[in-house]
């Protein structure tokens, strides 16, 4: 056995040029396949982690999916708003640690404006990471006309700290909809997160209400009188989430609904099954293409070994030894290709991870292969080995047929 391993190695070294090309093409196929699988997994993770650090989202009674869509993705609008008076009721519930109110409706050049408080930037996580500012800081809840930009908004209009900008009422499409009388000053720009936060403009609740009431110096006590789109709620202990949800749902006078964002996002992702199926189809296609590529390369390399195998046969090598001789090379090449391909992908991700995040908003990170990756790799290896048994048998038969005088090259 050891002699055959040595012999196979000598044989491979003598054909190293051709084999390196096969290893390289295998590596590319494997890298491509793992990349597709990774994008598929990480897209889902990016989506379902669009908001985290929030235990419950509260909105007016209705569809949980709609609540997620308008409060987190800023798509659509609620059928009714929730009264500010409910804040004090919710605060009375044990275990509620903090409440971050959300107000929506205005836009800045088609980007949604989110009215909230400065605590938003401390408590909300995107992709399981805390929010950070690339420059500047959060607005002050006490001051009017300050705002924070999401990464994409700032990038698109090349805004910088201290720039003054004007917001629009509603979608900003109609005439005379600008709040031109009250320009805002940029106090901070958020780092990219790969979530809807990147496409949002944040102002304080006070500023939001001032824009619409025309009154000045609204104090926190008066926030009760305002109306809100949703509340993000954090708890002392996550385990209390079901009990708190029940208590919020039970607040009769307000018709509220509390949902767990993780569960709702997962449900929402399920509705995009078609997109996920398409990705699965693409990855299957990539798997098949890479396997066929590897096999055809192996077949070509085996064709070239006919005489060598015939010689070993003529000298008296057993079929099992010839078989091992051929399969071993396939195994080595496939393994080298897989390891090289994986390394290639990791290196690429390491270098381009930030760029993917900025340009595509998908957090793709290098790391150990997932269960799916391992399955895909093992199936490539198995199919390559199975397929090389065919040429191995063919090579053996050919050697027999040509007897002791295989044709010269």
């Amino acid at each position: 056995m050891r002699y055959w391993i040595w012999l196979a190695l000598q044989s491979a070294i003598s054909r190293k040029g051709a084999l390196l090309i096969i290893v390289f093409s295998t590596a590319i196929s494997v890298a491509l396949l793992l990349a597709v699988l990774k994008v598929r997994d990480d897209t889902k993770i990016s989506f379902t982690n669009a908001i985290s650090g929030v235990d419950l989202i509260v909105g007016s009674k209705g569809s949980p999916t709609e609540l997620i869509l308008y409060s987190v993705f800023h798509i659509g609008r609620p059928t009714s708003l929730i009264s500010g008076k409910s804040i004090s009721e919710i605060q009375k519930i044990n275990q509620v640690k903090w409440i971050v109110p959300i107000q929506l409706g205005d836009t800045y050049r088609s980007y949604p404006v989110v009215g909230t408080n400065a605590y938003f930037f401390d408590s909300i996580k995107a992709q399981n990471r805390s929010l950070t500012f690339t420059t500047g800081q959060a607005f002050s809840d006490q001051k009017d006309h300050e705002l924070v930009l999401g990464a994409n908004v700032a990038k698109q209009y090349k805004h910088r700290i201290a720039d003054r900008i004007t917001l629009s009422h509603g979608t900003g499409k109609g005439p005379a909809q600008d709040h031109a009388d009250s320009p805002f000053v940029i106090t901070g720009i958020l780092a990219a997160t790969g979530t809807p936060i990147d496409n949002s403009v944040f102002i304080s609740i006070q500023s939001f209400n001032n824009l619409h009431d025309g009154s000045k110096n609204l104090q926190f006590a008066q926030l009760d009188s305002a109306q809100y789109t949703a509340f993000f709620i954090g708890l002392q202990q996550r385990s209390a989430v079901f009990s708190v949800r029940r208590q919020i749902d039970a607040l009769k006078s307000f018709a509220l609904m509390a949902i767990m964002p993780g569960v709702a996002l997962d449900e929402l992702w399920q509705t995009m099954e078609i997109a996920e199926n398409a990705l699965i189809l693409v990855s299957l296609g990539v798997v098949l293409t890479s396997i066929f590529g590897i096999i055809s390369a192996l077949m070509v390399s085996l064709e070239a070994r006919g005489r060598e195998i015939a010689t070993l046969r003529a000298i008296g090598a057993r079929p099992s030894q010839i078989f091992f001789f051929i399969i071993w090379e396939t195994f080595m090449i496939s393994l080298a290709g897989i390891v090289f391909g994986w390394a290639l992908l990791q290196a690429t991700l390491l270098v381009f991870s930030d760029w993917f995040m900025k340009e595509w908003g998908i957090l793709i990170q290098s790391g150990l292969p997932s269960q799916n990756d391992v399955l895909a790799i093992l199936s490539i290896l198995t199919i390559a080995l199975l397929c090389s048994t065919l040429p191995a048998i063919k090579a053996y038969r050919l050697a027999l047929h040509e007897g002791l005088n295989p044709p010269s090259i």
Partner: protein, 231 residues
């Protein structure tokens, strides 16, 4: 059944390739141990077929082929493969050296594939390399070639490497197939002399198949293939 006197005994062999008339019809052949046998036949006379039958590469359809007390007509292919590797040495027409191995590794290839041949070589020599060096010396191959890849050797040198590979580890018989075709007459005569001497000194039965009648006088026995002149 068979006699220990004969290393090869063919009885009533009938063989035909599909859709051809029989190459051998009730063919008989005896080769004595330690004899030098010359098999004559023009191309197409069935020389290669006979060699493949004697080597156990082709299956015997009708009749019996005995090699060193093994009934080839009854054995499976892999059993015949094993016997061929352990007890026969072949010098092929095309030499069939492994191009990426050195001279040494080509010569000792059978020792690495078959334990019995390695054992036999190590009874005589300190190491497999010593066994190879001895044969290279006997075949007038310069020792400097030991570590050289065989594809760098001349045709004449390659033939001697093939011969050394056939003789190493004391096979029962060494069979040479058309050793003359690749060389000029002078080199042929030289090679034949070394080949015969080596067989004699090692007590190995020699079998040479050729169409070159000039080689015939150096052998103990001459066998003409039955339909050598037909076709």
């Amino acid at each position: 059944m068979n006699t220990l006197k004969n290393i090869i005994e063919v009885k009533n062999l009938t063989f035909a390739w599909p859709t051809c008339k029989p190459l051998f019809n009730q063919f008989n052949l005896q080769i004595e141990r330690h004899q030098k046998t010359y098999i004559a036949g023009a191309s197409g006379s069935g020389k290669s077929t006979l060699l493949n039958l004697l080597a156990g590469v082709l299956d015997t359809a009708q009749g019996e082929i005995w090699f060193n007390n093994h009934a080839f007509h009854q054995l499976s292919r892999s059993q015949k493969d094993k016997i061929r590797g352990q007890e026969m040495g072949f010098i092929f027409q095309q030499f069939n050296l492994i191009p990426y191995l050195s001279t040494l590794d080509n010569i000792i290839l059978p020792l690495n594939l078959f334990h019995s041949r390695k054992k036999s070589a190590l009874e005589q020599f300190e190491s497999t390399q010593d066994a190879a060096v001895y044969l290279m010396d006997r075949l007038s191959l310069p020792i400097q070639l030991l570590r050289q890849p065989v594809y760098q050797l001349s045709v004449g040198q390659q033939q001697r490497v093939a011969a050394a590979r056939a003789f190493i580890g004391n096979p029962k018989i060494v069979i040479a197939d058309e050793p003359s075709s690749a060389l000029d007459w002078e080199n042929q005569a030289q090679f034949l002399k070394l080949f015969l001497e080596l067989g004699q000194s090692q007590n190995i039965t020699l079998l040479l198949v050729s169409h070159d009648e000039r080689l015939a006088p150096h052998f103990d026995q001459r066998i003409n293939l039955p339909n050598g002149l037909e076709r």
